[in-house]
């Protein structure tokens, strides 16, 4: 008979550190040891980073303000976004350009504040470049294959089309990196990954050496790939796949619409500027009407500025979130694929074992049962990440779309104020005439 043993530990069942969990994928015989706490031999290269820059208290307090602001924004009803237990806060800011003979690149300041015992100090500040983030992400994906690792902003940019060192580009990328790191730090499992610890604290990140011990975990999943074909995917995972398909389609549509709106707005803006100029040049030809016409020109100019602001926030705040979610969907699909492979391996082996048992009357080997555990564990991790992702997504889109509405409201309010004050000017004028007549 097929016995389905309960998973020994649910990786995502809370905020327990990874050390407490005997992960079935980590070849159960040797429980995971955390390199930071293990101390000694292999981790000797991990020199801790300098403590947070205490020299500038202003920046630290502003960091705190920002963190608190973030907390305020959290949706209280959201069970997965409970803020009271958070004990790891990360921020990416202060981009700097480095020019050497070999290359030019940007580094960002990565600041950490934490009360976790896995960290030696309560705060750190290190500088990292995009490559380092990329390294972290690969390490996270390799060492925690059953989890959804948040996406990084696209690595490659079209040369010539995008200026990699322009203020806008760096700013957008910095925000995306900050988002990535915050998502990792908020994840109940990923945030305890020693690679993250190294990334946040090590003064020099030795990327080539890596954490050999942990990569083993990844290997066992990676090797699955060969030969097995999935029979039947459980309905809930099929539903996830279908959901992602449709969602990515809709996201693509929204992205296209938003881009189109930006294009229409910029064309409108060009015409509107021209329109304002016509009023001001007309004003020069008039005496009585000079002020009213100048007033309209001024109003149109105010509306132009308001629209510029609105368009700018659309392209800087709205579009990047859509892009992040497009990439998120890809990560999610990847995890789903890996899960399917794990299940396929189990099914394949089970089938072979059952056949053998019928022929040779041998019991189902423990190895197959281990495979089953793997699947169970994967499913549990994936479901937990899915729920968390759904909840984050809901929160993010609520904020994104509300923000879009706010920007539009503020645009119209700015224009309205301008036109209202113009009416006051236009209606005031006859009064002044009367006054000048009596004088």
């Amino acid at each position: 008979t097929m016995s389905v043993s309960a998973p020994r530990g649910l990786a995502s069942s809370g905020q327990r550190a990874i050390t407490e969990i005997t992960h079935p994928l980590s070849a159960a015989e040797e429980p995971l040891s955390l390199p930071v706490s293990a101390g000694g031999d292999k981790e000797a290269w991990l020199t801790n980073g300098t403590p947070g820059e205490m020299s500038s208290p202003a920046s630290t307090s502003s960091l705190f303000n920002r963190l608190q602001l973030d907390d305020d924004l959290e949706d209280g009803r959201d069970p997965l976004a409970t803020t009271d237990t958070r004990d790891l806060f990360v921020t990416v800011d202060d981009p700097k350009k480095h020019v050497s003979t070999m290359e030019t690149y940007i580094t960002y300041r990565v600041s950490t504040k934490t009360t976790r015992i896995e960290f030696d100090l309560p705060q750190y500040s290190v500088r990292r470049r995009y490559q380092d983030f990329d390294w972290l992400r690969i390490k996270l994906e390799d060492s925690q294959p059953t989890h959804l690792v948040p996406p990084l902003p696209e690595k490659f940019v079209m040369k010539g089309v995008v200026d990699r060192f322009s203020e806008d580009f760096v700013e957008t990328r910095m925000k995306a990196l900050d988002k990535f790191l915050k998502r990792v730090a908020d994840h109940p499992v990923l945030s305890f990954n020693p690679h993250l610890n190294a990334f946040l604290t090590a003064k020099d990140l030795n990327k080539r050496q890596g954490l050999a011990l942990l990569t083993k975990v990844g290997e066992s999943v990676k090797q699955v790939a060969g030969g097995y074909k999935l029979r039947a995917r459980p309905a809930e995972f099929s539903a996830m796949g279908e959901y992602l398909e449709t969602f990515s389609q809709k996201l693509g549509n929204i992205d296209r619409i938003a881009q189109r709106i930006l294009k229409e707005q910029s064309e409108y803006l060009t015409e509107l500027r021209e329109y304002g100029t016509v009023y001001s040049s007309w004003a020069e030809c008039e005496e009585e009407l000079q002020r009213p016409l100048e007033g309209v020109a001024g109003c149109v100019a105010t509306c132009c500025r308001a629209l510029e602001d609105q368009s700018e926030s659309m392209s800087q705040d709205f579009l990047p979130v859509l892009r992040e979610y497009v990439l998120y969907i890809e990560s999610m699909k990847n995890v789903l694929r890996k899960r399917d492979q794990t299940q396929a391996e189990y099914e394949g082996r089970l089938e072979a074992a059952v056949q053998r048992r019928q022929e040779e009357r041998t019991p189902i080997p423990a190895e197959v049962e281990k495979c089953q555990d793997k699947v169970e564990c994967f499913n549990a991790d994936l479901k937990a990440d899915w729920e968390r992702w759904q909840s984050n997504k809901r929160h993010d889109f609520k904020q994104l779309l509300t923000g879009m509405a706010d920007k539009n409201i503020s645009y119209y309010e700015k224009c309205q104020t301008a036109w209202e004050s113009l009416i006051t000017v236009l209606q005031d004028r006859p009064m002044e005439d009367k006054l000048s007549e009596t004088n």
Binding site: Y243, I261, Y268, M404
Partner: protein
């Protein structure tokens, strides 16, 4: 927008109640479709006396309005005659119909024709015209009465004269300035109208693209659980937002019509200035003619040739003419001089009348322009405020839905 205290509008209410499509045969037996407008008038002094007279209704075509206007232009050359609404839609943004039979176009023309009648009826000079009264109160026989005035012949000669190139010797500064002003008014209003049409196109695009959000939100809501309802209803608000631009731009067309009226007014103002140049030119010509005739008479009488002339040369070469001949020529010259003096008197009177009346009229027109355009700008600002309020409203509604997600 219009003057108070004028003659006709105190005694009569005027409006164009409706427009109707008709079809009939032209003189060439061709089938044609046209629009007629119902001119409704009611004597208000009778109302004040306690009687309630039945309003008078009659139908007029656009071409009859055109006839009325050219009659007024010829008869009152010193008046900046109010323009008619455009014959064909100009300065249109791409979604606006340029079809003459389009209901929105017909409605805007109805408003424009009514505005024309009110402006004429309020005009201190035009409102007293008999032909105008006839136009307003008797449907039949009006055209014949107009043609009987012989204005057509005057109109033709005037048109020829206005198109001819001539140069006055002592141009009047006031008219030069007014002409310059009319040129500027024309170029400024036409530039504004062109720019506005393009702005309307741009704004239309921005609004309509938002409509796509409506569709996508609605489709997306189908796969969401908690977010679904909020998305769905936010989608409806996006649809409403996209649809709202039609009314906004339709309303803005009224502003464009106000500017268009002044674009046409600039033409009427220039006509007054041209007419002044023409009368002055004719006066200068006839005075010059008179001067040279008088000089000829003097030469003939004294026999002294003051200036070199071919006649003087021939006289010197071939000897003096007979005394009878000289007498006859002198008599003829006297007659011509008398005629010339009469012409100069007439032209001077015509010129003086035009200068005096046109100056009053131009002053009146300038004040009307400043007042009207200021008010047009105010109503434009009010319109813009309305649009902003609508925008705030729709996005606030959408925001509520997003917050429920």
């Amino acid at each position: 927008m219009l003057d108070e205290g004028s003659t006709l509008l105190r005694r009569m209410e005027i409006c164009i109640a409706e427009a109707e499509k008709r079809s009939g045969k032209t003189a060439m037996s061709m089938q044609e479709t046209f629009t007629v407008y119902l001119v409704e008038t009611r004597l208000t002094d009778a109302v004040a006396e306690g009687r309630s007279p039945a309003p008078n209704f009659l139908w007029r075509r656009y071409s009859e309005f055109e006839l009325l206007r050219s009659y007024l232009m010829v008869t009152y050359p010193y008046v900046v005659v109010p323009p008619l609404p455009e014959k064909r839609a100009e300065f249109v943004w791409h979604k606006l119909s340029a079809d003459n039979m389009d209901p929105d176009f017909v409605e805007r023309r109805r408003v424009g024709l009514e505005n024309f009648l009110l402006r004429v009826a309020l005009h201190p000079v035009l409102s007293d015209d008999k032909i105008l009264h006839h136009f307003l109160t008797e449907e039949h026989g009006w055209k014949e009465v107009v043609y009987e005035t012989g204005f057509q012949a005057k109109a033709d000669s005037r048109l020829r004269a206005l198109n001819a190139t001539f140069r006055v010797r002592n141009p009047d500064k006031r008219f030069l300035e007014m002409k310059h002003y009319s040129d500027q008014l024309q170029s400024n209003t036409s530039q504004l109208l062109r720019a506005r049409a393009r702005v309307a196109d741009g704004l239309y695009g921005v609004y309509k693209v938002h409509g796509n959000y409506g569709r996508v939100f609605s489709e997306w809501s189908a796969i969401e659980k908690e977010m679904g309802d909020g998305l769905q209803s936010a989608g409806h608000h996006m649809d409403a937002y996209a649809a709202s631009i039609d009314d906004i731009l339709e309303e803005e067309e009224h502003y464009a019509d106000q500017i268009k009226e002044y674009l046409s007014y600039s033409e009427a103002l220039r006509a007054v200035c041209r007419k002044h140049e023409l009368t002055q030119f004719e006066l200068e010509m006839s005075s010059q003619d008179l001067v040279s005739k008088k000089q000829q008479r003097e030469e003939l009488a004294t026999g002294i040739v003051r200036t070199f002339s071919l006649k003087g040369m021939t006289n010197k070469l071939f000897g003096q003419e007979a005394p009878e001949q000289r007498e006859a020529r002198l008599r003829l010259l006297e007659e011509l001089i008398a005629e010339g003096e009469e012409t100069v008197r007439e032209k001077t009177a015509e010129w003086r009348e035009h200068v005096e009346k046109a100056c009053v009229e131009m002053q009146r027109f300038k004040e009307q322009t400043d007042r009207d355009l200021r008010e047009a700008l105010i109503s434009y600002a009010v319109m813009q405020i309305g649009m902003c309020k609508k925008g705030v409203q729709v996005w606030s509604n959408a925001r509520e839905c997003f917050l429920k997600m």
